[in-house]
């Protein structure tokens, strides 16, 4: 149990670091692009493709980080009123459903794989490079959900993240 938890913690940390670097790179890259366009009159072809790729990956990587650290948006109005025993039951059901959903997504991805023949126009990035990104989210997420089921005492307590809108 402990070793799986450590593995998932490492994955989570690595995902977060990668995402931070990518976001910073996007800020600098887009800034450079705006600068080049208006002061040097040169446009960088294909930046939209790279941006799309980056954001797709970042969202799926971070979606696992948020799942592990329980920072996805959760509506707690009802569960706050119920006792700890009911909450534990609900948690178990949710973790189970997460495992089912993860497997379902992976199976569906396998089914469409042979149809993903597109490439982006400028850099020729295969569509599969975009569509594989959920795997990196749902595999560790299913593992985490299984771990939460098997060893609920390892799960971090609720940090009560707000919805930033």
């Amino acid at each position: 149990m402990k070793s799986i938890d450590n593995l998932l913690r490492t994955i989570s940390t690595v995902y977060l670091r990668i995402s931070q670097v990518v976001l910073l790179a996007l800020v600098l890259g887009i800034l450079l692009e705006v600068f080049m366009r208006y002061f040097l009159g040169r446009a960088f072809v294909g930046s939209a493709e790279l941006t799309q790729l980056a954001i797709t990956w970042v969202v799926f990587l971070m979606a696992f980080v948020l799942f592990r650290t329980r920072r996805h948006i959760v509506v707690t109005a009802l569960v706050d009123m119920l006792g700890p025993r009911v909450n534990r039951l609900f948690d178990a059901i949710i973790n189970l459903a997460t495992i089912v959903l993860s497997i379902y997504v992976l199976v569906q991805l396998g089914n469409v794989w042979e149809f993903l023949g597109l490439k982006t126009p400028v850099f020729g990035i295969p569509d599969t490079v975009f569509k594989i990104s959920p795997v990196f989210c749902f595999v560790p997420m299913a593992l985490q959900a299984a771990l939460n089921l098997a060893a609920p005492w390892l799960e971090p307590s609720d940090p009560h993240e707000t919805e930033h809108v």
Binding site: V45, F115, L116, G117, L118, P121
Partner: protein
């Protein structure tokens, strides 16, 4: 059975009107057995993404430009290369030729897509500019807006223009403020986006002849019986002549309105442009953008 058809343009566009015409005829002649629902405005996706979803069976039918199939069979890339065709008659002969039918067969075998018709009409593409463009020499040094697709950039670079990237939504503003001097666009977009109010010279370059196609997921096609397939093919062919009428009418409306707004419409000598692009076309062919010998084969079609 019910089938979903994705159409990329507005409900009242020539493309989607033709699609509706097709759907209606199929419904009637199949005795209501084949019920095609048309989803206009790109609601269910558009472009190569929609074609990919049709391949995977999420969509049943897709109405899209012929040039978009270059993503699935390389040879269709030749369509989007500038000045490949001498004139509309040449393009129509190509669409009816064995060369094109061979490409369609390849599309069915390799990508599992059945093209029901490849010859629905499409409004021509034109160049709008702040200075008159009659010959390739007039393009020299013009800051020219192109979409971010390498072969487009290469085309206009070869012709002497200075390709500039501006998002489609900002094109009007770019012409108006002098960020660009010229751009290429579909004829009707010039009017709907009011480009001619910022750049009053409209050159009828027809630099790319493209058509609208209607295609079906190959598996679903194979499951239809022969009579049903015949109904589909006939309706697709009939929609082609219907769309030709619509497009001719639309082109007339556009040019009348443009002239009424004070724009100058310019006829160009297309052969001067085509000559400049021939060598570059051979380079593209050598790079494998389409099969070797295809460009010449197309040129030898009458």
């Amino acid at each position: 059975a019910t089938y979903r058809l994705a159409c990329p343009s507005a409900e009242t566009s020539t493309t989607c009107l033709a699609a509706t015409h097709f759907a209606d005829e199929v419904r009637e002649n199949s005795g209501g057995e084949i019920d095609i629902q048309v989803f206009p405005g790109g609601q269910l996706g558009s472009g190569e993404k929609a074609i990919q979803q049709m391949r995977a069976g999420v969509l049943d039918l897709v109405v899209e430009s012929l040039s978009n199939y270059g993503n699935f069979v390389d040879d269709f890339n030749v369509v989007s290369w500038g000045f490949t065709f001498r004139d509309n008659a040449h393009f129509q002969s190509f669409l009816a030729s064995d060369v094109e039918k061979e490409m369609e067969a390849q599309l069915f075998d390799e990508a599992g897509i059945k093209m029901l018709a490849s010859n629905w009409s499409k409004l021509p593409r034109v160049v709008v500019s702040t200075r008159p463009v009659e010959t390739p020499e007039d393009l020299a040094g013009l800051k020219f807006r192109v979409p971010g697709i390498p072969s487009y950039i290469k085309t206009w670079q070869t012709l002497g223009a200075n390709p500039t990237q501006v998002p489609w939504a900002d094109s009007f503003q770019a012409l108006k403020t002098g960020i660009t001097d010229a751009m290429e666009a579909p004829y009707d977009s010039v009017l709907s986006q009011k480009f001619h109010l910022a750049a009053p010279y409209v050159s009828l370059t027809d630099h790319v002849y493209d058509s609208v196609t209607v295609s079906m997921n190959g598996m679903r096609w194979s499951r239809l019986d022969e009579a049903q397939q015949q109904v589909m093919l006939e309706a697709a062919a009939n929609a082609a002549s219907y769309s030709a009428e619509l497009v001719a009418e639309a082109a007339k409306t556009v040019s009348d309105q443009l002239e009424a707004d004070g724009a100058t419409i310019i006829e160009v000598d297309r052969s001067a442009f085509a000559d400049k692009l021939r060598a570059a076309a051979e380079e593209q062919e050598a790079e494998g953008l389409w099969a070797e010998g295809l460009y010449d084969a197309i040129q030898s079609i009458d």
